[in-house]
């Protein structure tokens, strides 16, 4: 837990394309921002769901991949020096006199004058296999990520999945675990071929096991997992001993703690007015896929527009006594100075 409180003008919740462009629009009106995101890198859905897939409706770019759009936005906002807090989720929002205090799940506290929620479809969280009773084992016997290697030391570990997370952790935990079994539904893997080869090398040396199948039931006492029932590729079931299980089935989006911040919601979306993109709460804005208003389209380009209008209103919270004069980046020397091109 960090003790220091970070003070800034604005906190942007979400580092997807719209959150990133909000840094740009706020920067143009001299508002400094910190950005918090649950993922370990910028880009949001563009980075997590479609890094290699083409987007055809970004104005001026005939075609761009999710990753390339993210990279371009990161380059575009560089002059504004936003600070990023990755691998963190904003857990709570408190109202202060003239602002807010946000606290993330790793204890980082941020005090700011305004909040911009650009959280898209919600925060990415690991998928929980719908196995009866799995909740009772979570945090003690079932983990969706590896934070401490010691949880796996000298234990019978079962890793489920065939993607990079499953393969990477198979390789990393093999020397630590008492025994390690990788379980996957088929003989092909989406993970990097080099990792798959290394995994099979370990199987050949007898260090780990690889089995085909899918988990159907969990068995244990209290919070201690003992074994799982697996339906094998041939349809027959078998019992697999496991003290610890790591299921890797990708991520899903959940609205998360935003629901508890006292903001009006409509079907898990945040209603905003279309002049300022402010929520029911003064000083809290919502832009991009997470907001709703008559005619809303969940398009990246709509989120960019929303960021621009949001910044005009945001200026009032940071500089209540200053009048904002609208300027173009093409002709304004002062804007070009901020962009570092003059």
């Amino acid at each position: 837990m960090s003790e220091t409180v970070i003070k800034t003008d604005a906190v942007i919740v979400g580092a997807g394309p719209v959150g990133l462009f909000a840094v740009f629009e706020l920067g143009l009106v001299d508002i400094k921002a910190h950005v918090v995101d649950i993922l370990d890198r910028p880009g949001g859905q563009c980075a997590e769901l479609y890094p290699e897939k083409p987007i055809y409706d970004i104005p001026g770019l005939t075609v761009v991949t999710g990753q390339e759009l993210t990279d371009r936005l990161m380059d575009q906002i560089k002059p504004f020096g936003a600070e990023f807090h990755f691998n963190q989720r904003v857990e709570s929002l408190e109202r202060l006199d003239g602002g807010f205090r946000l606290t993330t799940d790793d204890g980082t506290a941020l005090e700011c004058k305004l909040v911009v929620i650009a959280a898209g479809g919600g925060s990415f969280t690991p998928k929980r296999p719908p196995l009866p009773g799995i909740e009772q084992y979570e945090g003690t016997s079932v983990f969706y990520s590896v934070r401490k290697m010691e949880h796996f030391k000298d234990r019978d570990v079962l890793i489920v999945g065939g993607g990079d997370s499953a393969l990477d952790w198979t390789l990393n935990l093999a020397p630590v675990a008492k025994s390690l079994t990788l379980l996957h539904r088929r003989g092909e893997f989406r993970a990097a071929p080099a990792s798959v080869q290394k995994m099979f090398d370990l199987v050949e040396k007898g260090d780990i096991s690889f089995k085909l199948g899918q988990v159907t039931e969990l068995h244990g006492e209290g919070e201690k997992l003992r074994s799982v029932t697996v339906k094998g590729a041939d349809g027959a079931t078998f019992e697999q001993p496991a003290e610890v299980m790591l299921p890797f089935f990708g991520l899903t989006m959940k609205l998360g703690p935003v629901a508890d911040w006292g903001i009006n919601l409509h079907e898990n979306l945040i209603p905003v007015d279309t002049a300022k993109f402010e929520t029911s709460e003064q000083g809290i804005f919502a832009i991009g896929d997470i907001n709703t208003y008559p005619g809303k389209l969940k398009l990246i380009l709509s989120g960019f527009h929303e960021a621009a209008l949001m910044a005009q209103q945001a200026h009032k919270y940071v500089y209540p006594d200053k009048k904002l004069i609208f300027q173009y980046t093409t002709s304004s020397t002062s804007l070009q100075k901020k962009l570092g091109v003059k």
């Binding site: 859905q45 769901l49 479609y50 897939k53 479809g121 998928k127 929980r128 296999p129 719908p130 999945g161 065939g162 993607g163 996957h184 539904r185 088929r186 092909e188 989406r190 899918q214 159907t216 089935f249 990708g250 899903t252 989006m253 969940k298």
Partner: protein, 106 residues
């Protein structure tokens, strides 16, 4: 027009009409069929529109391509009849298609 029947895990059935060219996922979402989350909006990037195609229709709907097969790794209780409904394009030939929705999409 193609008529598609969605059968829920509890046995309830709904028949919807789908235009050729749209996907089975889009037909489900447009008609508020429960159990088709389609989080990624049809980009074959999330595996939350998983369905089981009834045996009689498996040949007509074809088999998953590599990208879809990879994404099915992120679905739960995958069976030989498993498909991601965003990857099944509706055609006149699929008039009468029957798909089952898994108990959970995660």
């Amino acid at each position: 027009m193609a008529r598609i029947t969605f059968i829920q895990n509890d046995g309830t059935e709904r028949v919807v009409e789908a235009e050729p060219g749209m996907t089975v996922m889009e037909a489900a979402v447009k008609n508020n069929i429960p159990g088709i989350a389609a989080e990624c909006g049809g980009a074959c990037a999330c595996a939350t529109c998983h369905v089981y195609v009834e045996d009689a229709w498996r040949e007509a709907t074809g088999s998953p391509e590599q990208m879809e097969e990879d994404m099915l790794d992120f679905a739960f209780d995958v069976r030989p009849a498993s498909r991601l409904s965003c990857q099944i394009k509706v055609t006149e030939a699929l008039d009468g298609l029957v798909v089952r929705i898994p108990e959970k999409q995660f």
